[in-house]
């Protein structure tokens, strides 16, 4: 088994986590092969092994087509890997479940339901009484900053607001792991920044495990405890980098922090290198 070297030794060890971390997600030698329309095999993921600690914010960073979303879908149970296994708390993942809540770039809200109806959907499915589900959902809607929009339909909302609803809808059924698939990828820069800040604020309250797929280096460094860098064709883990920056993180402070800048520059440099290798071959 190829062991992926961690760069963490080059940086100061993290001091943020107090309790001993236990593994919540284990990905063991996972490969994913798709058959393309020309009947050629396309290796989306090749021999991926990765463990994710409970309560960690982990980003999977990579260029488009490196299979980072596919990896997330495998953990979600939406896609079965061609080889290897993904485990949640030691149990092999065989399908989707409420312990792993997805948030997609496309929002995937239920357009026939109001904001409140969308957020209540999960708890109601889990058998929570209507009055209780409604009270909880209203609180969540307030938490994501959408108080007053409870009775709006998704089509009446902007992209950023839709993604807030999607986040609230997923949080409403209390998943142990949040699976975020480029959630801010379809938003403009300003909205994106605001949602990143709000996501961090919400995350810092209960420190749920988050697996966050992105192609933005800034976003990955700003949000994460750990950044998993992937390279493409075939999709492999290139590097796992611990991000040792103090929490709670404030964007205006962080942008001026030389450590933050160093992470960003270093990661970008590594991507440039791999691009050169890619273009030479």
């Amino acid at each position: 088994m190829k062991v992926v070297p961690s760069r963490s030794s080059e940086w100061v060890r993290p001091v943020t986590s107090q309790r001993p971390a236990s593994t919540i997600i284990g990905i063991d030698r996972v490969s994913q092969v798709f058959q393309t329309s020309t009947r050629k095999d396309h290796v989306a993921l090749s021999d991926i092994s990765l463990t994710i600690d409970e309560g960690a914010f982990v980003s999977i960073l990579g260029p488009s087509g490196c299979g980072k979303s596919t990896l997330l879908y495998i953990v979600g149970g939406f896609v079965s890997p061609t080889r290897g296994t993904a485990r949640m708390k030691g149990q092999p993942i065989t399908g989707p479940g409420p312990d792993r809540g997805p948030v997609f770039q496309e929002f995937a809200l239920f357009p026939w339901k109001t904001v409140l109806g969308n957020v209540m959907y999960g708890p109601r499915q889990q058998g929570v009484r209507a009055t209780e589900a409604e009270a909880q959902s209203r609180m969540l809607i307030q938490m994501v900053g959408l108080k007053g929009y409870e009775n709006f339909y998704p089509k009446e909302l902007s992209g950023g607001m839709k993604q807030r609803v999607a986040l609230a809808r997923t949080l409403a059924y209390h998943p142990e792991v949040l699976l975020m698939d480029e959630p801010f990828g379809a938003l403009d820069a300003h909205t994106r920044t605001r949602l990143q800040n709000d996501l961090l604020n919400i995350w810092e309250r209960d420190r749920k495990t988050v697996l966050f797929v992105t192609h933005s280096v800034d976003e990955a460094v700003f949000l994460s405890d750990k950044v998993v860098m992937m390279s493409k064709s075939p999709g492999r883990i290139r590097e796992v980098i611990d991000i040792d920056l103090p929490r709670p993180r404030r964007r205006n402070e962080l942008l001026l922090d030389p450590r933050y800048q160093k992470y960003v520059v270093e990661i970008e440099r590594m991507f440039d290198e791999s691009d050169e290798v890619g273009s030479a071959s």
Binding site: G76, P96, G97, P98, P102, A108, W112, Q125, Y153
Partner: protein, 255 residues
Amino acid sequence: MTRRAAPVLACVGLLAVWQIASLALESDSFPTALEAIRTIPDILGDKESLINILASLRRMTIGFGIAVLVSIPLGLSMGRSRAVAAFFNPLLMVVYPVPKAALMPIIMLWLGVGDITKTLVIFLGVSLPVIYHSFEGAKAVEEKMLWSGAAMGLSPLQRLVRIVLPAALPEILTGCRTGLVLALITMITSEMIARQSGAGNILFNALDMGQYDTVYAMIIIVGAMGICLDAAFERIRARLVRWSEPQFDMPLSFS
């Protein structure tokens, strides 16, 4: 105000053109609009005619109702399952271009000229557009929406009923609206072929006997039935899928 008045004006305009054309042509087989309209109360006041029209409506309701109840689940299943689609697609491809009225002689041989035959023809006419639109609607449902539902713990059947059905509803109702008009058309056609009772029966009997006032009056009555049914359906549809409508819409109905 103008929005409500426009369709009425269009009807009045059409009747006016009819009136003038008929006066100009002076043909026995082309009564004036006024003559035709004056005949309507006679038809609607006649018990025999009323029984005929109600029989038509009953067959249409049953045919349309059963067709919708069968076609929506079938179309949705086809849209979400390759296996179901592969099984039913060739079958529907063969039936689709055949005029349903052309099947009537065969159906009459088996089932006689009564209600069952006519209702079956209406059923066939309505089924195909409803299946097709349900199929297309179900196929277009976003995969991620279903994944979101699966993560909440919805079983495949629950996803079909509680996600695919509502998500595809605008498309399904478009199919039903086409189906409703086809129900009216197949209703009259079936009564034309197997004359025994119904609105079509009155119309074609009058034609045979040269009662052209009645022929044209029946065309108005059937037309009005179509307009009213469509308008009523459009109201229900608009209520059900308000969430999907664009803010400004061009109304294409009399509702």
